[in-house]
């Protein structure tokens, strides 16, 4: 016990140490075991519910028993520093990065992918920058919605399910965005489109410059095909509200 603590605080520390590790720590002296069990249960179940709600695919894919052990370790080992319930899944991701438990190699990516939906939903109403919706997409800098994320993973996280556990690394590129109706949508990208959008988001190149560069890199015999394909993608992104227009 730490002498710097008041005696009621020492008691509280023993009480929470037990809650965090109900299988390893004793019931504090003088506390009725059946009443301690209430806290063991409600704190764990509350946390389990919060975490499970954000990661339904991860939970089903790794199986109930492993999932329970994982959340037990989360409660025992992790020091969560946010009072906001919505951010518990973010704490869980931080825990996954640090834990020494042996887990499927795809789990962290899968959980991150599942969490992004929650993250984008919780962004405040965004005041999108001014954009010219009629602007020339090929020759002007583009303006993107702020409610989007470009993601690259080592696994095809969007295809994972209990029946489809990844057997090998499979680089995967996704664009996630929140539409005008606050719905979260995912688009799978090929590596070239991913690179194109990454280049355009930085705002340093026009679409024509970026596509010329990509065609050069690919040593494509007919660069105009790349150009046509690329501009078609941009029009599609504009129709979905991901590209708002051009800088005016």
């Amino acid at each position: 016990m730490n002498d710097a603590l008041l005696s009621f605080q020492q008691y509280q520390l023993a009480f929470t140490a037990r809650i965090r590790d109900a299988h390893g720590q004793p019931v504090p002296v003088g506390v009725a075991p059946e009443r301690m069990a209430v806290y063991d249960e409600i704190v764990f179940n509350n946390l389990l519910e919060s975490v499970s709600a954000c990661f339904p695919v991860a939970r089903k894919t790794i199986g109930k028993a492993t999932w329970l052990k994982l959340v037990q370790a989360f409660l025992k080992d992790h020091s969560a520093d946010t009072p906001l319930f919505r951010k518990i899944p973010e704490e869980f991701l931080a825990f996954l990065r640090q834990t020494k438990l042996t887990l499927p190699s795809y789990l962290e990516a899968l959980c991150h992918y599942e969490w992004i939906e929650l993250y984008l939903s919780a962004l405040p109403p965004l005041e999108n920058p001014v954009a010219d919706a009629q602007g020339d997409l090929a020759h002007c800098a583009l303006v993107f919605t702020q409610a989007m994320q470009l993601l690259s993973y080592d696994y095809a996280v969007h295809k994972i399910s209990p029946r489809h556990k990844p057997k090998r690394v499979e680089p995967t590129y996704l664009l996630v965005h929140r539409d005008v109706n606050d719905k979260i949508k995912f688009i799978e990208l090929n590596p070239m489109t991913f690179k194109l959008i990454t280049l355009l988001k930085s705002g340093e190149l026009t679409a024509e410059q970026a596509l010329t560069m990509l065609a050069d890199e690919l040593k494509h015999p007919q660069p105009q095909i790349i150009m046509q394909f690329g501009l078609g993608v941009l029009l599609d992104l504009q129709s979905q509200g991901i590209i708002l227009g051009t800088t005016s």
Partner: protein
């Protein structure tokens, strides 16, 4: 709308209920809802949809905030960054009333906050009274207003406790000079869990500090153990206790909490309507108590 005053019956706002409450067809059904309550932990930085919903409610109802994670009794330093967020949130939606539980939910020591996201019981000791009262005062100073504290439900008695729950509650209220958010169901739950007389508890509270009250259902795990789930209908002995409280102190605003197994709005409204009925049948608070019935909200 004068938002500093709430009265009548209220409902804890759950996201599942919002579309039903907003429906134009339900406005007669919900006419007895006179204020709504939210947990800041669920609504701060909650995104564009949530903020549109809150704007809708703020234009129509007084909103009160009832916190869950301030950890007034916690070992970790008071989270003043969070309190600043709460302060901005209260100001943004013109919310005057903020209450918290007389409990704790953090355990990290020396440095980081460690949240457990549940309400844990503070041992009833002298040291704890001073410690918690100081943190309530710190909170009130930071927010520039008095806060209310709720008598929390609990399940495990601390062997180091030196006084009763009532003595602890009253000592904290007095030393912190804060308001009381009286939870009627919690009095009942604790009276069964720890075998005391709920009416005697009620008679012992400083009624002039009541800002508003809660009523809710609970789960009976065994004859001597009730769990405060907010997941069932309010039982008759708890309604009777609310009536006793109105008879003793006069009417005060009362809010129904329902967090689990939430029924359809028309079913839920039967309990809100029952609060309103009991309030109509009881004596108004202003004619019951002589002076000081309205505690000024601002310091």
């Amino acid at each position: 709308m004068n938002r500093s005053q709430i009265h009548g019956a209220g409902l804890g706002l759950k996201r599942e209920l919002i579309p039903q409450i907003q429906s134009p067809h339900h406005q007669t059904l919900i006419s007895n809802i006179q204020f709504v309550e939210i947990a800041p932990e669920n609504w701060i930085d909650a995104g564009s949809k949530a903020s549109k919903q809150l704007d809708w409610f703020a234009a129509r109802y007084p909103i009160v905030c009832h916190g869950l994670c301030l950890s007034l009794g916690g070992i970790s330093p008071l989270n003043t960054d969070f309190l600043q967020q709460v302060k901005q949130f209260l100001s943004r939606y013109e919310i005057d009333i903020y209450t918290e539980h007389l409990s704790y939910c953090t355990d990290a020591y020396q440095g980081k906050q460690g949240y457990l996201y549940d309400l844990l019981p503070i041992p009833f000791t002298e040291e704890a009274v001073h410690y918690v009262a100081q943190r309530i005062r710190q909170t009130q100073d930071l927010l520039g207003r008095r806060i209310g504290i709720e008598n929390a439900s609990y399940y495990a008695a601390a062997p180091i406790s030196e006084m009763s729950e009532l003595a602890f509650l009253n000592a904290v209220l007095s030393e912190a000079d804060c308001l009381l958010h009286l939870d009627i169901n919690n009095i009942y739950v604790n009276s069964v869990n720890f075998n005391f007389d709920p009416q005697a508890f009620l008679r012992g509270i400083p009624q002039e500090r009541i800002i508003y009250s809660h009523i809710a259902g609970h789960y009976q795990q065994s004859p001597d153990l009730l769990i405060d789930t907010h997941g069932a209908n309010v039982i008759d002995p708890v309604w009777a206790l609310l009536k006793d409280a109105y008879d003793l102190f006069g009417v005060f605003p009362t809010l129904l909490e329902r967090d689990n197994n939430i029924p359809a709005l028309n079913i839920l409204m039967q309990e809100v309507d029952k609060i309103a009925d009991l309030q109509r049948q009881a004596i108004p608070r202003s004619s019951k108590a002589n002076t000081n019935t309205r505690t000024p909200l601002l310091i």
